[in-house]
Amino acid sequence: MKYSLFSLAANTLTKHKNWKPALVDAHPKAKYDAIVIGGGGHGLATAYYLAREFGLTNVAVLEKGAIGLGNVGRNTTIVRSNYLLPQNGVFYQHALSQWETLEKELNYNVMVSQRGVVNLFHSDAQRDAFARRGNAMRLSGADAELLGRDKVQKMMPFLDFDNARFPIMGALLQKTGGTVRHDAVAWGYARAASELGVDIIQNCEVTGFEISNGRATGVQTTRGTILSEKIGISVAGNSSMLAQMGGFRLPIESHLLQAFVTEAVKPLIPNVITFGAGHFYVSQSDKGGLVFGGDLDGYNSYAQRGGIYTLRDVVESGMAIMPMIGRIKLLRSWGGTVDMSMDGSPIIDRAPVEGIFVNAGWCYGGFKATPAAGLSFAHLIARDEPHKIAKAYTLNRFASGHIIDEKGQGAQPNLH
């Protein structure tokens, strides 16, 4: 059913008792043309583009729990394309342009809000680095603007500009960045894919692969064996577990990232703000809560819950730029398991086992990538060749030396 003002009015007349479920709760068939493992944002987007762009509709998404409860429903909803390296710049700029038209395409309100992303800088050296980044962004087709202190002060008078240690000297602004309602993205893609004939199968955990003569022919699941010649793995923090089932290893460690939300207050934070001298970023949700986060906890984890020392560090960084938040109450916090790759950049490639494809290594920043990752992964699965925006995201870049390391940290995932 198409959502519109008319359908809303019609359903109001019948007291909202006749709305149809947004998607069909499908049961597994014996065989599909393609299977996508993982019903997060990426898996659902992949299924949608397989059907919509590549005409593959005999497709199943297998999700071990309910869709939308993984990282897609746990992230801090920020979308941006402020990358330094061209491989990432072009890819994320493509994603950002897809966000701009996604609601119309999906006929679903995912609340895209291009409120701007402001990266504060606190020293001359950092200004130079941000100017360079801004130039690189423009070369990749993104917008970037270097703001002086007075402009930032006009936009956000509440910041502590004269902090003794980290005075605010200006900022790099990406006006087209902002936030998107995270779980709505999962529902929107799921509904649109389901309408195109994709089976979205929940409570169906993949426990192994059917492999004969070195080729994958299907998956074993908690709801029986399901056959397919093309199997895409898109399970974020659990990527290494699926690789293990397929008998290979990935350049990935699973880490813990936390997010925090305060009580609701009146409109306060006009955009997304990041602290340049520590790890803290914040935006305000439409309900009014301040949503913020910071660094990884720093050790391997699948637990989806973190330690209090990370909270302390994040909040201290927040206080350094916004002393006013000291009086606000924290309501909730949670953690997610993120797939940290060895160079901090993602992988969209064939697995070492024929018939299996991998979409992984999204670190703490894969939400903003969702539309482009779905499109590129679908392209790879359907055509068996990489999409032009994702050609650099190969597995063998670690062997060939073509690593994409934005921060130059080396193979130490907890530092990316």
Partner: protein, 91 residues
Amino acid sequence: MRINCPYCGNRDVAEFSSMGEEPAKRPDPQQADAQTAFVDYVYLRNNPAGPNKELWYHGQGCRQWLRVNRNTLSHKILGVSLAAGGDQNGK
């Protein structure tokens, strides 16, 4: 999470840094497949969900490297020993 350091006793995890899972033995640069062996050694991980043998550094304590066996699902510490002098089984 608290780690029971053999030198310093039971200390909060914030005093330590994790280097991740303990790598396999460093390959011999002279061996025939040294190139592939080094790519595996530097970049590939088992990344288990469950007990994981890791290296931790007690930077805000004794500054020793520790071998820590830790469950990545529950964060339970299963064993700690000094990395120096021991082999990979913690002996």
